[in-house]
């Protein structure tokens, strides 16, 4: 009786009511008995009974479902019913949850970053009272962070009433020696009030005393937890011991707790003395802790009245000066806020598309379930009651989606952080999934569940009961079809907006890739040093160092040419400033030039063309007359139509005789600071004639290599360590350094492209779903058409036409949206206008083709409908 047992087991498998089991078993038993009476042997009889019965589990579950309808009364039952109902249609449930999971994962991942970077308060007590104080010119040439001139800081510290205390600081770097390999480490120079304004204490030891700002006492350092672990083995005995920074000894007075990394991620905090001398035009960020009773507006009013009495900076006009009180976080995030918010908007679109898809699925399911709903209505369930049940289901779906999304987002956040440019996004160490992120994801899930569940629920319950109990009424079908079309149109529109944004970013990125910086980047390796004053106190000592390095480099096999430049183009640091003409003529207002000092071979190594006169040569040394080379734009700006050769200029404000430089050549302009800016003017000086240590101690050696640049990296390291083992080794290929200029754009482009591809896919699934369903629903109509003589191709074309109408409507709507919305990308675009027609046309084409492909399959299936079968199916 094994067959029978197995069959009976199926009945017993779940906890369903025993009566149903008994009823079905009775049927099975009777059929078997009848078969035996008809002359079959027992086994054949059972087999036949089973075959006739069909799927017993299905019958049982369906029957059970019909019974359960009556008993739903509480939310708990709603839930278990929703679970059962979702489990009973695994295909629908899987597709819906996967779709939602993708949407939620993207949103959760981006929100996690937004939360860590923008929303999470800085990890200080009462961070809401910490503000940046700024008074400076709007017209400054450099894109500056908020801050005060040192002299204003000193005055404001004395006179302000709004803040309990204020502090100023700046970021710097120093070479750490005597603790493993020499390395360049980030430092922060801070006033002694810095830690008490932020209200952070050291984990061990102490922070700075006011007298430690003064010269003679200022060789003290506070360590970050990270450097303490990485370089000093987390040894507590380091307190009171000396460490060597830039060749000078600093006594360790304290170690900060692990989480403290302000302003960025300094390894050491060193005391800062703010000088009051009149020549000091330093601007530093200033942070203050507001008194509890004072509002930000009051503080601003006080700052503005204070500013009335302060003179503007050199060359600045009072009307250009602006006083600001800004949240402290602005110091770190002002630059990334806009791009993060744009990403947030982009992923919100992805989620909306995903939800539209699920709403469509629910609409279709509503059609399938109309009988079930009608039965419940007939049994007296109110419309509200049934809507509540359907909403329970959609919210449950959304929550499953958001939980799956959170799991996916864990990987998503890792991927985001791995892709993010190292210097581009601040506070990355604080980015992780926390309670706020979880709340966000779950709340978003619940809201979206109600949002995309409500319309289908209203739709499914809105018609008169009789419509459902009878054969499906054509009006209800048409209405549902319209609603589904509207959803698909919005999906297409949203996808088009995202695609347009991605297209613009992509085009902009391509433009950036092809920008000619004005110099050669291939086969060039660079090595950068920062010579500390303590080891190299005099100009001759520094010059000797550079000469030795250059001399040794030129004999390294594999190096074609070796040269040096103090500030390489397209690097974060660049020295720019004004200069004076011998004729006494004033420079155009705000005209500044880069002032690189270079060795004679620099132009040859970098492939910068000498257009007029000559390049530098070995003879341009300390004893020879001082010379300079200007770029073409300098020559054109200052001496239009004249020969610049032989003209004299000086970079000094109070020049001596030897400070007058004679122009001996003109070279091409190169992009000095920002790849996407115009080439900037520069005045080059020969390295050997430069005397100020400031212009000499930071130096990059630039060598042209015969083979790949990395092939000589080891040789460069050996040369440097042969001359001074105390120097940290910083070697990089020039291509990588220049590439870092576009890493942020690359990241943004990748991200927005990923989102838009996701959107495109979801929209394609949406189009497919709606058409496939329309084909099923219109089978009878299609059958009639074919019976009346329509050809297969006519039917396919009719359905494709439907797709085209949807796509066109979506494209028109999305096009309008894109024109309005891609404007926000303006700041991020390079040589592409936010309304670039080529981009719009291309993405429209991509979307249209995708739409048609998604529509082809259902259309093809429709054309295979057998009219006889279709007409008899209802």
């Amino acid at each position: 009786m094994s067959w029978f047992n197995r069959f009976a087991n199926l009945f017993r498998r779940e906890n369903v009511d025993a009566e149903l089991d008994e009823e079905l078993q009775f049927h099975f038993h009777e059929r078997t008995r009848k078969n035996i009476n008809a002359g079959m042997n027992a086994e054949v009889a059972q087999h036949d009974a089973m075959r006739r019965f069909g799927n017993p589990t299905l019958a049982k579950e369906r029957a059970h479902e019909m019974n359960i309808v009556m008993s739903i009364e509480t939310i708990g039952r709603d839930l278990s019913y929703a679970l059962r109902s979702l489990r009973n249609s695994p295909g629908f449930t899987t597709v819906a949850i996967l779709t939602l999971a993708l949407g939620f994962a993207a949103n959760t991942a981006v929100f996690t970053v937004v939360n860590g970077v923008l929303l999470r308060p800085l990890p200080f007590p009462e961070p809401g009272r910490l503000f940046l104080i700024s008074y400076q010119s709007k017209q400054r040439t450099f894109e500056n962070q908020p801050g005060l001139y040192d002299r204003d800081y000193l005055e404001y510290e004395k006179h302000n009433q709004a803040f309990e205390r204020i502090a100023t600081f700046n970021e710097d770097s120093a070479t750490l020696t005597g603790a493993g390999d020499a390395a360049r480490e980030p430092t922060a120079m801070v006033t002694s009030s810095f830690f008490s304004v932020l209200q952070v204490r050291s984990a061990m030891g102490r922070t700075f005393l006011p007298e430690e700002e003064l010269k003679g006492n200022n060789h003290v350092a506070v360590l970050s937890d990270k450097i303490w672990h990485d370089r000093f083995g987390a040894n507590p005995n380091i307190l009171g011991k000396a460490i060597t920074l830039d060749g000078m000894e600093y006594s360790v007075v304290g170690i900060m707790p692990p989480g403290f990394t302000f302003p960025h991620t300094p390894a050491f905090w060193l005391p800062l003395a703010v000088g009051a001398d009149p020549g000091n035009t330093y601007i530093r960020p200033v942070v203050g802790r507001l008194r509890p009773s004072v509002s930000r507006q009051q503080a601003l009013a006080e700052l503005e009245s204070f500013a009335q009495h302060q003179p503007p900076g050199p060359g600045e006009r009072r009307e250009d000066m602006i006083a600001e009180i800004l949240p402290l976080n602005d110091l770190l995030v002002a630059k990334v806020r806009k791009s993060l918010l744009i990403f947030m908007g982009a992923v919100a679109f992805v989620l909306l598309i995903a939800c539209a898809n699920v709403a469509n699925l629910l609409l279709m399911r509503g059609t399938v379930r109309q009988r079930e709903i009608a039965v419940r209505n007939a049994l007296g369930a109110s419309r509200g009651r049934v809507i509540r049940q359907l909403l329970t289901e959609s919210v449950l779906l959304a929550l499953c989606g958001s939980i799956a999304g959170i799991l996916l987002a864990i990987f998503g956040v890792r991927a985001l952080l791995a892709l993010a440019p190292a210097m581009g996004v601040p506070r990355l160490q604080e980015v992780h999934i926390d309670a706020r992120v979880l709340t966000f994801a779950v709340a978003l899930g619940a809201i979206m569940g109600i949002l995309f569940g409500l319309v289908p629920a209203l739709q499914a319950t809105g018609n008169r009961i009789r419509d459902f109990l009878n054969l499906s009424g054509p009006t209800a079908t048409a209405r549902r079809q319209r609603l589904r079309s509207a959803l698909v149109i919005s999906e297409i529109a949203l996808a088009l907006i995202l695609l347009s944004g991605a297209g613009l970013m992509l085009k902009s990125f391509m433009h950036m890739r092809t920008v000619d910086p004005g110099f050669r980047t291939e086969n060039i390796l660079t090595m950068t040093v920062d010579l500390p004053d303590s080891t190299y106190p005099t100009t001759p000592a520094i010059q000797a160092f550079h000469s030795r390095i250059l001399e040794k480099l030129s004999s390294v096999p594999g190096i074609i040419d070796a040269s040096a430049v103090n500030w390489m183009p397209l690097q974060p640091a660049l020295v720019r400033g004004d200069f004076h003409l011998e004729s006494g003529r004033k420079l155009p207002r705000g005209y500044v030039v880069a002032k690189p000092a270079v060795s004679p071979d620099y132009f040859r190594v970098m492939g910068i063309r000498v257009l007029q006169g000559r390049g530098f040569a070995g003879r341009d040394n300390t004893t020879a007359p001082s010379v300079a080379i200007v770029t073409q734009s300098v020559a054109k700006t200052l001496w239009p139509g004249e020969d610049p050769i032989g003209k004299r200029i000086t970079l000094e404000d109070n020049p001596q005789a030897k400070d007058w430089l004679t122009i001996v050549g003109v070279v091409d302009d190169v992009r000095q600071q920002i790849l996407t800016d115009q080439p900037q003017p520069a005045i080059y000086q020969p390295l050997q004639q430069v005397t100020r240590p400031f212009f000499l101690s930071h130096m990059s050696y630039v060598v042209r290599t015969a083979q790949s640049p990395q092939s000589v990296a080891a040789a460069l390291r050996n040369v440097l360590q042969g001359v001074d083992p105390g120097q940290p080794v910083e070697i990089a290929a020039l291509t990588d350094l220049v590439d870092a200029n576009i890493s942020e754009t690359r990241f943004q482009t990748r991200l927005i492209s990923t989102f838009s591809i996701l959107a495109l896919l979801l929209a394609a699934i949406g189009i497919y779903g709606v058409l496939a369903y329309a084909v099923t629903e219109r089978k009878r109509e299609i059958g009639i058409r074919m019976a009346l003589g329509a050809k297969k191709s006519d039917v396919a074309f009719m359905l494709l036409k439907g797709t085209l109408v949807l796509v066109m409507a979506g494209v028109v709507l999305g096009g309008c949206g894109a024109v309005l919305l891609t404007r926000v990308l303006g700041k991020f675009l390079f040589e592409v206008r936010p309304t670039d027609p080529v981009t719009f046309l291309s993405v429209t084409a991509v979307l249209a083709v995708t739409g048609i492909i998604a529509g082809l399959l259902p259309a093809q299936r429709a054309s295979t409908v057998d009219p006889v079968v279709a007409l008899r199916s209802e």
């Binding site: 009566e19 149903l20 008994e22 009823e23 079905l24 009775f26 049927h27 038993h29 009777e30 059929r31 008995r33 009848k34 006739r52 019965f53 069909g54 799927n55 017993p56 299905l58 019958a59 049982k60 369906r62 029957a63 059970h64 479902e65 019909m66 019974n67 309808v69 009556m70 009988r371 039965v375 007939a378 049994l379 109990l469 009878n470 054969l471 009639i784 019976a787 009346l788 003589g789 007409l871 008899r872 199916s873 209802e874």
Partner: protein
């Protein structure tokens, strides 16, 4: 003529069950199955399992009532009978069915 499979009977199953019960009185599921097969001369052959969800649904809707009794073979079986609401429903469905079939017939004769 080949036998029609169950899915083509979707929507008409209610009609068939109500008709059978209206003319024959109290019956259990298996008997209903046999009756439908017999009357239709085996043209309408049910996937037998699908009968039960329909019976339960119609019971919940109030068109049928059910009770347990003993079968001819002396086993416990659930018996179904049509209610007044069921008869009303039957009248409506019969009318709609004939409307539909005559409409389809007209279309077919035109095509």
């Amino acid at each position: 003529m080949r036998s029609h499979t169950n899915d083509r009977l979707k929507g008409t199953l209610d009609l068939l069950v109500l008709t059978v019960l209206a003319s024959r009185g109290k019956m259990h599921g298996f008997a209903i199955t046999l009756q439908i097969e017999e009357i239709s001369e085996n043209v309408l052959r049910l996937e037998e399992g699908s009968l039960y969800p329909a019976l339960h649904r119609m019971t919940q809707a109030g068109w049928l009532k059910s009770e347990w009794g003993l079968s001819d073979s002396n086993r416990r079986a659930r018996y179904y009978a049509i209610t007044a609401a069921g008869r009303k429903q039957l009248a409506e469905e019969t009318q709609e069915w004939s409307q539909l079939t005559s409409a389809v017939a007209r279309v077919l004769s035109l095509a």
